[in-house]
């Protein structure tokens, strides 16, 4: 007895939605998925008519689906947006160069202009070189910090009004869990926001239209629509702390599928006590990027890399900022602490 789609009732169901457990046929699933993203965009008022929007594309499933759905909804509902693709090349051989090929193919398929920025040209370091210096444990910090700046720089070069990224519900939930485990109260408050609200030059607001879409559903969508995407994990990621949060979240999902939305709901409703010290947004004294300290994180990390002190930037060392700024040499004890690297 074939199961019928619970939405249209006449076609055979081909999948069971991970989010709600309903059985749906292909067309109804596509429609439900796209409609949800549309509702998210409309309810959160993410875009205004006539804006230029940069889609952060990595060639992976999230950004491919994002590009596809944005183009589709832009036409279907007349958002009036001008879309562009923006990609970051971290310089990871065997991973990023392959996924960039996918992005280039996407560009042709969706007929959208593409801009690629690379770590090499922005910072003078590729991830491969960084990992050689830093080791396999803390490299994700470098990559993440550099990528954020790279995206912003690329957006300025492209002259877009907004960036949208392919972060999905699983990512946001993992971030909430991670911030609780790390005790990062400032990030905990901000991480569930659907769009960033920083003002000032050098910063382009960014948003997550796929915030309420489950990762599994994105995969199903990409699979059934036969979208072209690159599906390998970053080769340097196995030791990231996020992995713990991810395993936990996957287990939670297997017990109760709505857990992912529950975690996001919890994150959205957290309230922080008054009087808790929060960082204040300022600008970096060296490069002018936004920062809550005297030196922005990427300047600190770069300094560490250039001086051969890989641990500068990992861990707390606010007192060293002044020393770095004024080009003073560090004492021997400090140097020794910062040099030690465990592979």
């Amino acid at each position: 007895m074939p199961v019928l789609c619970s939405s249209c009732g006449d076609k055979r169901a081909v999948l069971k939605r991970p989010k709600t457990g309903h059985s749906l046929c292909k067309e109804c699933f596509f429609w439900a998925f796209e409609e949800e993203v549309h509702q998210t965009i409309v309810a959160a008022e993410l875009f205004k008519h006539g804006e230029t929007v940069g889609i952060a594309a990595s060639g992976g499933k999230d950004s491919t689906v994002l590009a596809h759905v944005m183009k589709l909804l832009n036409e279907r509902y007349n958002y009036g947006l001008e879309l562009m693709l923006l990609s970051v090349d971290e310089g990871i051989t065997g991973y990023r160069d392959d996924s960039l090929e996918t992005v280039k193919r996407n560009q042709q398929q969706y007929e959208l202009p593409l801009k690629i920025v690379s770590y090499e040209e922005l910072y003078g370091w590729t991830m491969d070189a960084i990992v050689k210096q830093v080791g396999l444990k803390n490299n994700c910090t470098f990559c993440g910090v550099f990528r954020r700046q790279a995206l912003d720089r690329g957006a300025i070069m492209l002259k877009v009004d907004k960036i949208c990224t392919g972060h999905n519900a699983d990512d946001v939930a993992e971030t909430v869990l991670m911030n609780v485990l790390r005790g990062d109260i400032a990030r905990l408050r901000r991480c569930t926001a659907i769009s960033t609200t920083s003002e000032g030059e050098g910063v382009v607001p960014r948003c997550k239209p796929l915030k309420y879409a489950y990762e599994k559903e994105i995969v199903l969508y990409a699979y059934f629509k036969k979208l072209d995407y690159f599906s390998t994990e970053c080769i340097y990621s196995p030791n990231a702390y996020r992995g713990y949060a991810r395993t936990f979240l996957k287990d939670l999902e297997s017990i109760r599928p709505s857990s992912i939305m529950d975690v996001i709901h919890s994150g959205e409703n957290l309230s922080v006590r008054e009087g808790v010290k929060m960082p204040v947004q300022g600008t970096c004294t060296r490069c002018g990027y936004i920062s809550s300290q005297a030196l922005c994180k990427s300047c600190v990390l770069l300094e560490g890399l250039n001086r051969g002190l890989p641990k500068l930037g990992i861990g707390k060392h606010h007192r060293l900022h002044d020393k770095i700024l004024s080009q003073q040499p560090l004492t021997e004890k400090e140097e020794r602490k910062l040099k030690s690297v465990d592979f």
């Binding site: 009732g9 485990l181 005790g183 939305m261 529950d262 709901h265 919890s266 994150g267």
Partner: protein, 481 residues
């Protein structure tokens, strides 16, 4: 005014004496501080204790210091928060486990005449016998209760043994958040203490006599009903959540699955206690925090894991043991022979993935092994969260969740996880439009019943209840098909 000067002078003298006494006690341990980076941190003591078991001679100094540190933390926790006023009746919720028994012994210690700075409240003990919900036999339950009774009798405090089945007996009236006692500002605390010292300095606290409370008889049918109720919850996660809530307060719409929380508050109210003391330790609260997040209880986190919980208005629950890790308590109990009784719970001996609570517990424990600061970091995070405690006179009746009595968090703006879930549900059940997408000829009308009276996570728990089994317990007519 002369009275006040006397009092403050006396207090100064007392403080100086205390500080000196403390310093003397702690100086001999200075050399042990070398073993750890911070003196008196948990790691130091564990190291010292291990050292001590290996070398029996180096014993009394370490033991003494540890005891001092342990007791001091308890007093500091109570003193810092200034919630328990002198002469107040406080109900200690003892489950028989190591944390609550440790708390009991701390209270005993604090009230004893020889204590350095005596505690000043009047304690009583309550134990909730959940054997019925766990399917234990009558003999097993009586055996456990007898063991605990012996422990309680030895303390000399009045105690109450309440079987969980009592929840079914309680009269139906609407769940009421009783008006809280008039707001007592912090300054009033000092005055209250001074006044108390003056009036009671000679007589001391007269402890309440122990009534001879025999184990109340439990009817077989009640136990069966209780098991049925708990059995209505399909998943272990839901069952644990329900059991937890029923312990505390009292939901008088019997549909609502038994709630541990409700029962504790009800007992406190009927027996005239104004405060409730719970024995949750740091490790357990860290697990509870993560579990709450996973269950969607982000809005109520501060109340679930903070020091004080004032959901019920008149009865305030406090958690004085929240600074102690499970390890410390275990060591203390062993070193100073604090009696405790092991009682299984719903998720004892279940697999990792049996329920969300169980999964979180094993996750935190494993993570703690690799990253030893995990539990304390989570604990610190919980301290920074707000307990948004509205005074019950202004809060509307319908602002409170029916099940867990915390403020409802589903009245959120349009762009939120909750709304997104509702939209998904709608979209998966309607015809895909040939027409525009605005008309939704849904099969079910908007549920106007229980769901709208509950907070986000209690809605999820109720979803897990099997409808047919629940039918006989329903007082409210369910409109859903």
């Amino acid at each position: 005014m002369p009275e006040n000067c006397e009092i403050s002078a006396a207090r100064h003298a007392a403080r100086n004496a205390r500080e000196q006494h403390y310093r003397l006690q702690t100086e001999p341990c200075a050399r042990f501080a070398l073993w750890g980076e911070k003196s008196y941190s948990e790691s130091t003591y564990i190291t010292l204790l291990l050292f001590r078991t290996a070398i029996p001679q180096a014993s009394s100094g370490v033991q003494g210091c540890f005891k001092e540190y342990f007791i001091h933390k308890f007093r500091a926790m109570l003193g810092k928060n200034r919630i328990i006023f002198p002469g107040e009746k406080v109900l200690l919720a003892v489950s028989g486990g190591p944390s609550s028994c440790s708390m009991l012994s701390q209270v005993q210690e604090g009230l004893s005449q020889s204590a350095h700075k005596k505690l000043r409240f009047l304690p009583g003990i309550v134990y909730i016998d959940e054997g019925g919900a766990l399917g234990q036999s009558l003999e097993e339950r009586q055996r456990t209760v007898a063991e605990l009774q012996a422990v309680f009798k030895a303390t000399g405090f009045p105690f109450h043994i309440v079987p969980l089945e009592q929840v079914l007996d309680l009269p139906s009236s609407v769940v009421v958040t009783a008006p809280s006692a008039s707001e007592r500002p912090a300054s009033a605390y000092k005055e209250a203490v001074d006044h108390f010292i003056q009036s009671n300095s000679r007589s001391g606290l007269t402890p309440q006599g122990q009534e001879d409370t025999a184990l109340p008889d439990v009817e077989e049918s009640h136990t069966q009903s209780l098991q049925q109720l708990i059995g209505c919850a399909k998943t272990l996660t839901a069952r644990e959540d329900l059991l937890n809530t029923i312990r505390f307060a009292h939901t008088l719409i019997p549909l609502c699955p038994p709630q541990r929380q409700h029962l504790l508050v009800h007992t406190a109210r009927t027996e005239g206690y104004s405060k409730l003391m719970l024995g949750d330790n740091c490790t357990r609260l860290a697990v509870k925090l993560l579990t709450s997040i996973s269950l969607g209880r982000g809005a109520q986190l501060a109340q679930d894991t903070g020091f004080s919980d004032c959901r019920y208005g008149d009865i305030i629950s406090v958690r004085p043991m929240r600074d102690y890790s499970a390890k410390e308590i275990a060591y203390y109990n062993r070193m100073f022979s604090v009696p405790s009784v092991f009682i299984p719970s719903l998720d004892t001996k279940t697999t990792d993935k049996a329920s969300i609570q169980r999964l979180t517990e094993s996750f935190v424990t494993k993570l703690q092994a690799d990253f030893p600061s995990t539990v304390s970091t989570i604990y610190r995070t919980s301290e920074k969260l707000q307990t948004a405690c509205k005074s019950s006179s202004t809060a509307d009746q319908c602002d409170r969740c029916l099940l867990c009595m915390s403020t409802i968090d589903t009245a959120v703006e349009n762009a939120s996880a909750f709304k997104a879930t509702l939209i998904s549900e709608k979209l998966s059940q309607t015809k895909s439009p040939g027409a525009t997408g605005t008309e939704f000829p849904g099969q079910n009308p908007e549920p106007t019943d229980l769901k709208s009276l509950m907070c986000y996570s209690c809605q999820l728990t109720v979803k897990d209840l099997i409808r047919e089994k629940i039918g006989e317990f329903l007082l409210v007519d369910d409109d859903e098909g």
